[in-house]
C-alpha cells in the first residue's frame, strides 16, 4: 500500500480520537478530501520542481505512533536552550510530555492545541484564527486533516513575555518509521511581544517525517520573533509550513537555521494586512553529504508603506543540494513598499548544487524592490592569507564561512540562541574556535 492510501484509509481510526461533531472537524474533513484529491506533491508541480519527496515517501510510516518511549531529561537536555529560563511545550511522538514541559495560563496562554481545540474558553480564538491563513495545498491539507496536537500560544494585548517559549517535538520511533503532523497556533494581540524557539528532533535512526503547520497572527504594534533550529539527524525529514499574518506596525522575524536532516522544505509565507509593517525572513543553511534544504518564501505586500527584509545564506558541501525560491508580490495599493531580498551561496565542491530563483511580481509603481543572488566559492587568496598567519585550513575555512553567514545572526535577539547557533556552526564545520567576531 502506498503512503497516500495508507493515510487515507486510516482516517476513520483517527476520527475515533477526536470530537467529530465539532466545527473543527468540519475543517478537518474538508482538508482530508482536499488531500485525498491532491495527494503528495510531485516534481511536476512548479513549486516542487527541485525537491523530490519520493525517496522518503517510500517508508512505511506509522501514522499514529503510540509506542511512546519514555525519555529522560538528561538524554534530551542538549536539544533545549537550557542556560536561561524558558517556557516549554514539548511533545514526544506527537503526544504532550508534561514532564518535559513548562506551560502557563498566567495572563498568557502557553499550552496545547488539543485543549484549545476542545475547551470553550478558547473557542473564540480558534474560530477567529484556526486554519485561516494556512494554504489549502497538499501538505498543509494533510496536516489540517490530522490536526489535533501542537503548541497553542496566545499573548494578550500590551504584554511582553518575559522569557522565550520553546516548542520541541521529539520523535522516538523505536520500532518503525514515524510520521508527525504537529499543528501550532500563535496569536499576539495588540502590542504583545514574544520570542519563540522551534525545534524538531528525532532520537532514532529510523526514518522520521514531520509535516508541521504553524499559523502566526501579529496584531497592531506587536512583535513576534521565531527561531527555527533545524539540526535533525540524517534519517529525519521536515516539511515546515509557516504562515504569518501581520497588522499595522507589527514586526515579525523568522530565522531558520538549517544544518541537519535529510530533506528539509521550508514554506514560509507572509501576508501584510496593514501599513508600516516589517517582515524579516532570514536563514543560514550549512549542509553536506546528500542533504537537501529548500527555502520557499513568499511575502505578499498588500498595503502601502511596508517593508520586508530577506537574507538567506547557504553553504553546500559534497553532494548536498539547496533551493531558494523567493517570491515577492507587491499589490497595486502597496505603494512605498521597500522589499529587499538577498540570497548568497557558497559551493564548497563541484558536486554540490543550488537552484536559486527570485520571483518578483510588482504591480505598484512607487516601490523599492531589490534582489541579489550570488553563487561563489571560498576565496582561495583569503584562505592562503589566513593560513600564512597560522590559522589551519579547516579553521580558516570555518572562519570565512562564519563571517559569510554572520549577517543573518546579527538580528538574533536572544543571546543564548545566537550562542547556540555559533556552537552548532562550529560543530557542523568540525572546528573548535570561537566566532566572537
Amino acid at each position: 500500500m502506498d503512503l497516500k492510501e495508507k493515510i487515507v484509509s486510516s482516517y476513520v481510526a483517527f476520527e475515533d480520537g477526536v470530537n467529530i461533531n465539532s466545527d473543527i472537524h468540519e475543517i478537518r474533513t474538508e482538508a482530508f478530501q482536499n488531500f485525498e484529491k491532491l495527494g503528495f506533491p510531485s516534481k511536476k508541480l512548479e513549486a516542487w520542481k527541485y525537491t523530490s519527496l519520493n525517496s522518503i515517501l517510500k517508508e512505511d510510516y506509522s501514522i499514529f505512533p503510540d509506542k511512546e518511549k519514555s525519555i529522560t531529561l538528561a538524554e534530551v537536555k542538549k536539544y533545549f536552550i537550557h542556560d536561561i529560563d524558558t517556557y516549554k511545550i514539548v511533545f514526544i511522538d506527537g503526544k504532550y510530555s508534561s514532564f518535559l514541559s513548562e506551560t502557563t495560563h498566567d495572563n498568557i496562554d502557553v499550552c496545547l492545541m488539543s485543549s484549545a481545540l476542545s475547551k470553550k474558553k478558547y473557542k473564540l480564538v480558534i474560530e477567529n484564527y484556526f486554519n485561516k491563513i494556512a494554504k489549502q495545498d497538499n501538505l498543509t491539507s494533510l496536516n489540517t486533516a490530522f490536526s489535533k496536537e501542537g503548541a497553542y500560544i496566545h499573548i494578550p494585548k500590551n504584554t511582553e513575555v518575559e522569557k522565550p517559549i520553546q516548542i520541541i517535538n521529539f520523535t522516538t520511533g523505536e520500532e518503525s518509521a514515524t510520521m508527525l503532523q504537529p499543528r501550532n497556533l500563535i496569536v499576539a494581540d495588540k502590542n504583545a511581544h514574544v520570542q519563540i524557539i522551534e525545534r524538531h528532533q528525532s532520537l532514532t535512526s529510523n526514518a522520521a517525517l514531520t509535516n508541521v503547520v504553524t499559523e502566526i497572527f501579529a496584531d497592531r504594534h506587536s512583535t513576534v520573533d521565531l527561531y527555527k533550529i533545524q539540526n535533525d539527524n540524517i534519517a529525519a525529514s521536515l516539511v515546515d509550513n509557516t504562515f504569518v499574518e501581520q497588522q499595522s506596525n507589527s514586526v515579525v522575524s523568522v530565522h531558520t537555521f538549517s544544518f541537519g536532516g535529510n530533506i528539509t522544505r521550508n514554506n514560509l509565507n507572509f501576508f501584510q494586512k496593514g501599513e508600516h509593517i516589517d517582515s524579516i525572513l532570514k536563514g543560514i543553511t550549512i549542509i553536506e553529504g546528500k542533504q537537501h534544504v529548500d527555502h520557499h518564501t513568499l511575502v505578499h505586500h498588500i498595503e502601502p508603506n511596508c517593508e520586508s527584509h530577506q537574507d538567506y545564506k547557504g553553504i553546500y558541501d559534497e553532494r548536498s543540494t539547496g533551493v531558494f525560491n523567493g517570491k515577492v508580490i507587491v499589490e497595486k495599493e502597496a505603494q512605498k513598499t521597500n522589499a529587499y531580498q538577498k540570497n548568497n551561496n557558497i559551493l564548497m565542491n563541484n558536486k554540490s548544487t543550488i537552484n536559486a530563483k527570485p520571483q518578483l511580481e510588482i504591480f505598484a509603481d512607487d516601490v523599492k524592490c531589490s534582489h541579489g543572488c550570488t553563487i561563489g566559492q571560498l576565496d582561495e587568496q583569503a584562505l592562503f592569507y589566513m593560513q600564512q598567519r597560522g590559522i589551519p585550513k579547516k579553521e580558516a575555512k570555518a572562519l570565512l564561512m562564519y563571517a559569510f553567514a554572520n549577517t543573518v545572526l546579527e538580528s538574533v535577539k536572544v543571546p543564548e540562541v545566537k550562542e547556540r547557533i555559533m556552537k552548532l556552526i562550529a560543530t557542523k564545520l568540525k572546528v573548535n574556535i570561537g566566532f566572537n567576531i
Binding site: 592562503f384 589566513m386 593560513q387 600564512q388 598567519r389 597560522g390 589551519p392 572562519l399 570565512l400 563571517a403
Partner: protein
C-alpha cells in the same frame, strides 16, 4: 635560518624561478630588489608555502629542516611571516579577532593553551601603540576598505603580534606616506634581534634608509644575478637595472 638552493618553480608550465640560491642567517637583513615580474613575490609566496606553484627542483630549509612539504600554517607555526604585497580583505572578521585566532592557533600547534585574555589585550595595546594604530581600527573588518597604507601598517602590526623568526616584507613600503614609512620601519627595527631575520623586498632605497640591509640581492628573470652590500641599493637607485642586464648577457 633560511637556506634555498637551486630553486626552480613554475605555474601553469610557465617557468618563473630558474635556479635560485639564497642563504639567510639569524640576525641578518637581506634586501631583494629587481624589475617588475622578476619573481620576487613568487619567491616570497613559495617560502610561505602557497600551493599553486609547482616547485620542480631545489631545496628549501628553515633552521636545517626541510620545509618543502609543510603546509602554509605549519610554516607559520615555525616562525615564517609574510607581509603581503597585496593584503587580502576578509569581510566580517575583525582585526582583533583575526589576530587572536592567529595567535591562539599558533600556540595550539605548539601545545600551549590560549593566551589569557588579559595578556592578549595588553599585547594588542602595546603593539598598536608601537605602530601608532588607532584602537577603533582594530574592530573593523580585516583590511576591508583599508587604504593601501593602512593595510601595510596592519601587516606589520600582525608581525609585531606574532614575533616571527623569519619575516618577509613584500613591498611593505609601497603605499606608505613618509611618516608611516618611518613608523613602520621603526616597528620592524624594534623587532629585530640576533635570533631572527628579515627579507625586505623593495623597489626603492627609502625603506633601506631605515632598515639597513646586510646584503642586497638583485633578482632578475628567476635568478639572483648579483649580490652586494647596502651600497648596491644606492647604485641601483642611481643607475637602474640595465647595467646589470648587460653584465649578465656579456
Amino acid at each position: 635560518m633560511l637556506k634555498i638552493e637551486n630553486l626552480q618553480a613554475s605555474v601553469d608550465n610557465k617557468s618563473i624561478l630558474k635556479g635560485l640560491n639564497l642563504n639567510v642567517k639569524s640576525g641578518e637583513v637581506h634586501a631583494i630588489m629587481g624589475p617588475n615580474g622578476a619573481g620576487k613575490s613568487t619567491l616570497a609566496n613559495i617560502i610561505a608555502g602557497k600551493e599553486e606553484y609547482d616547485v620542480t627542483n631545489g631545496t628549501m630549509e628553515l633552521n636545517g629542516e626541510d620545509i618543502s612539504e609543510l603546509s602554509p600554517e605549519e610554516r607559520a607555526h615555525n616562525g615564517v611571516f609574510l607581509s603581503f604585497q597585496y593584503p587580502v580583505e576578509i569581510p566580517g572578521v575583525s582585526v582583533t579577532n583575526f589576530i587572536k585566532t592567529s595567535i591562539n592557533e599558533t600556540r595550539k600547534a605548539k601545545g600551549l593553551n590560549d593566551m589569557p585574555a588579559k595578556d592578549m589585550l595588553k599585547m594588542i595595546r602595546e603593539k598598536s601603540e608601537l605602530l601608532e594604530i588607532d584602537r577603533k581600527f582594530l574592530s573593523r573588518s580585516l583590511n576591508e576598505g583599508f587604504s593601501g597604507g593602512e593595510k601595510k601598517r596592519n601587516e606589520i602590526f600582525q608581525m609585531a603580534m606574532l614575533e616571527p623568526k623569519l619575516a618577509i616584507l613584500d613591498e611593505t613600503d609601497s603605499g606608505l606616506d613618509i611618516d608611516a614609512l618611518r613608523i613602520v620601519a621603526n616597528g620592524v627595527n624594534k623587532l629585530k634581534s640576533k635570533d631572527n631575520a628579515v627579507i625586505v623586498i623593495t623597489h626603492y632605497q627609502r625603506l633601506l634608509d631605515y632598515i639597513v640591509p646586510d646584503f642586497v640581492h638583485v633578482l632578475h628573470d628567476g635568478k639572483i644575478v648579483k649580490t652586494g652590500d647596502a651600497s648596491l641599493a644606492l647604485e641601483l637607485e642611481a643607475k637602474g637595472y640595465d647595467w646589470i642586464k648587460e653584465e649578465i648577457s656579456a
